[in-house]
Amino acid sequence: MIRKLFYFSSPQNFYPLAGKLWPMFACLATALTIWGLWLGMFVAPTDVQQGEGYRIIYVHVPVSWMSMVIYLAMAFWALLGLTFNTRLSGMLTSALAPTGAIFAFLSLWTGALWGKPMWGTWWVWDARLTSELILFFLYLGFIALTSAIDDARRADKAGAILALVGALNVPVIYFSVKWWNTLHQGASVSLTKGSSMQQTMLEAMLIMAVAFWMYAIAMTLYRVRSIILVRERHSQWVADLPEVKAQSLEART
């Protein structure tokens, strides 16, 4: 097991593995999305308090959760990269960031569209919303910082530090509804208290959350392959790849 981990921590070995894995995650994401949307939009009943407007929950909660999970995953790879100086860690951190940024944006967007009819406002500067906005800026900051530094290894280091420091914001987002008096409602699903939601609604929301998780993994694996190609372009194994040879032939003709 440990040997396998070491084996796949080399970009050369991870590249074909990621190539085999991403289509599986993409298929899972598609199937789960269809299932989750069916349950959420056609089976789940109307909410007693919020009518049909509550159905925003099937995107809002999953994208918000994933925006936090992806940032934690980035912090994990960043820590691994800083500790063991593995090249692949930095590439994975960078590959995660764009998907995380999109999920953070969607969390704010769907939140605004939910807030308007229920609270009467698109936006308030309360703890939950503000800390999620900070998360979105952290993603953008990470992307800007790492793409501004030409040397890949130095970019990885700087990015890793930003990812680690920024990770402090994630528990702040999560617990903000408890720590401060906010307009945002408390957690509907909690690890300690279970769920206060109706069964079908809960199932549909969880299925959508797993679907987005699978989507994020598929995207990250696909993106990390492009990063590996560019970073390892001076090595023989990249030159020997059939897709690179095909591209060279195409360019020649």
Binding site: H234, E243, V244
Partner: protein, 63 residues
């Protein structure tokens, strides 16, 4: 089935704008991301191939 007609489904009990605004933008952004990521791979392949060719043309063996 909880909807009596398509227009019933579409109006979402008066919340149509908010519900479809959320689902629509999410779908559009994820589709756009998939497209960008695909193009990113194509760009990476083009870049790698052209650098390899330039190296061949210079007669340098830098592997």
């Amino acid at each position: 089935m909880i909807w009596s007609s398509f227009s019933d489904f579409w109006s979402m009990g008066g919340y149509g704008l908010y519900v479809w605004g959320s689902f629509g933008v999410t779908a559009a952004l994820l589709a756009a991301e998939a497209f960008w990521t695909r193009r990113g791979r194509q760009n990476a392949l083009t870049r790698v191939a052209s650098e390899l060719q330039a190296a061949d043309a210079n007669g340098k063996d830098w592997h």
